[in-house]
């Protein structure tokens, strides 16, 4: 596992991050170091280890389907940087 410059810029775009040139260079080294560390896990022999998805005995937790109050539109919009009526307002699209 290694990440090159092109992949790095692609990942940055997926994450909606605009990286400066010095950040690209620094991150390339750091990310590869991190991926190296992570790859140590593949050295472990885990054939007889059962997977754990949760430390407690919890399987398919469902709540009863009872209606209850939720946020009002005003509450939901309270933190909006910009709004229009009952909607969050963002700048127009373009490629995302």
């Amino acid at each position: 596992m290694a990440i090159d410059r092109e992949q790095l810029l692609h990942v940055a775009h997926l994450a909606r991050l605009e990286l400066r040139e010095d950040e690209v260079e620094r991150l390339e080294g750091q990310l590869n170091d991190i991926l190296d560390a992570v790859s140590k896990v593949s050295e472990l022999d885990l054939s007889d280890v059962p997977p754990t998805s949760h430390p407690l005995e919890v399987v398919n937790v469902w709540e009863d389907d009872n209606p209850r109050p939720c946020l009002t539109a005003e509450e939901a919009l309270a933190n909006a940087p910009e709004r229009e009526g009952d909607f969050f307002k963002v700048p127009p699209g373009g490629a995302t």
Binding site: R16, I34, A37, V38, V41, L46, L56, A78, N79
Partner: protein
């Protein structure tokens, strides 16, 4: 005179109950301590007004969202964010809801008013971008408790932000078992690792706070009800208690002198009041030791910083076009460390190997 440096939460609750002090006086004592000392300690980002009532004040880490109180994780990206949801683990109703099965009368009364009166002070952080942001937040939380600026605190622990600052600040901190405390309303770092937990000055205070925040929350489906109520320890006799120490952790590089030795397993202790020590190695022992402990938290950040930041809350950069707005907002709002984590996380999640990696991770103790 209330000596906030020595007062425990339990003692403060007793004084309140016996009407030896009023809620207002207690609040005022902590406010004064903050005014006097926080200039040096730099613990708090936000100090609330006295909400009235007879509860105990509490410091809350700035990642734990509380209705009506600014919550920013010490980061510019969440500038101005004021949660509209009430958090389960310290909502006032919670103290009452659990009154059905209190263990002792004194706690019943304390619990009743306990959380109606939160000091609602929040530890400040360095701007996001410092290497150990979350941990620094935790450290400030620890400093607030040991510095007498709050009787106790709610922190969060993803990779050590309760445990380590508590150790360094001389406090008692608990990272609860995953699933015992609701994460509803906290700013997530890694959702399958984050846990909210208590920081206090004594074991009893710590257990007391834990007994209040633990339990099932219908808004967090990973939580469970505790099989039995939390018991407050009555004495200092630890006989019969077993403490397991993972060898790898105790042999890791960078352990401070004086820490490793007392933690080293002992077969038989001469002092009767100390617990029995045991040690264990990871099952799949090899030259790789315990890598899961060092990387498990890394590739997790992106789902927790969705594009809803900037569009629905938090900081937003000026831009005429949406993609540019997102990128510019993140440029202005994130420092190096969150960017790094987001990059690692996005890379991991964008790879076809994710399924395989996840399967392996689940076999490595997450």
């Amino acid at each position: 005179v209330i000596d906030t440096l020595r007062l425990t939460a339990e003692e403060a609750a007793r004084l309140l109950r016996n009407k030896e002090i009023s809620g207002g006086e207690l609040w005022e004592a902590y406010r004064r301590a903050i005014d006097d000392r926080d200039g040096d300690l730099h613990c708090f980002l936000h100090v609330c007004d006295d909400p009235g009532g007879d509860g105990l004040p509490i410091a809350v880490k700035d990642v734990i969202g509380t209705k009506g109180i600014p919550t920013t994780a010490g980061s510019k990206i969440l500038e101005g964010y004021v949660p509209v949801l009430r958090l389960h683990c310290h909502s006032p109703g919670k103290g009452r809801a659990r009154l059905a099965h209190p263990r002792q009368d004194e706690h019943r009364r304390v619990r009743d008013g306990l959380l109606d009166r939160e000091l609602r002070v929040r530890p400040v952080a360095q701007p996001m971008g410092s290497v150990a942001r979350a941990r620094r937040l935790g450290r400030r939380l620890g400093a607030a408790v040991s510095g007498g600026l709050a009787p106790w605190a709610l922190g969060s622990d993803t990779g050590g932000s309760i445990k380590q600052p508590s150790a360094l600040c001389g406090n008692v901190g608990l990272r609860p078992t995953y699933g015992t405390v609701s994460r509803y309303g906290i700013v997530a770092l890694a959702s399958s690792l984050d846990q909210v937990g208590p920081v206090a000055r004594t074991v009893r205070d710590c257990a007391f706070l834990y007994s209040i925040i633990a339990g099932r929350d219908e808004c967090d489906t990973t939580t469970v009800g505790l099989p039995q109520p939390v018991e407050l320890p009555e004495g200092e006799d630890l006989r019969g208690i077993k403490i397991g120490v993972p060898k790898e952790l105790n042999e890791a590089e960078g352990i401070e002198p004086g820490v490793g030795r007392p933690c080293a397993p002992r077969s038989r202790s001469s002092r009767r009041s100390v617990p029995r020590w045991g040690s264990a190695r990871c099952r799949s022992q090899s030259s790789t030791e315990c890598p899961a402990t060092t990387w498990s938290c890394r590739p997790r950040r992106p789902p927790t910083w969705p594009v809803t930041t900037a569009s629905r809350y938090g900081h937003r950069a000026e831009a005429t076009e949406r993609l540019e707005m997102y990128k510019q907002t993140r440029e202005e709002g994130f420092g190096d460390e969150p960017k790094r984590r987001i990059m690692v996380g996005t890379y991991a999640l964008s790879r076809a190997t994710t399924t395989r990696t996840t399967a392996r991770r689940r076999r490595c103790g997450r």
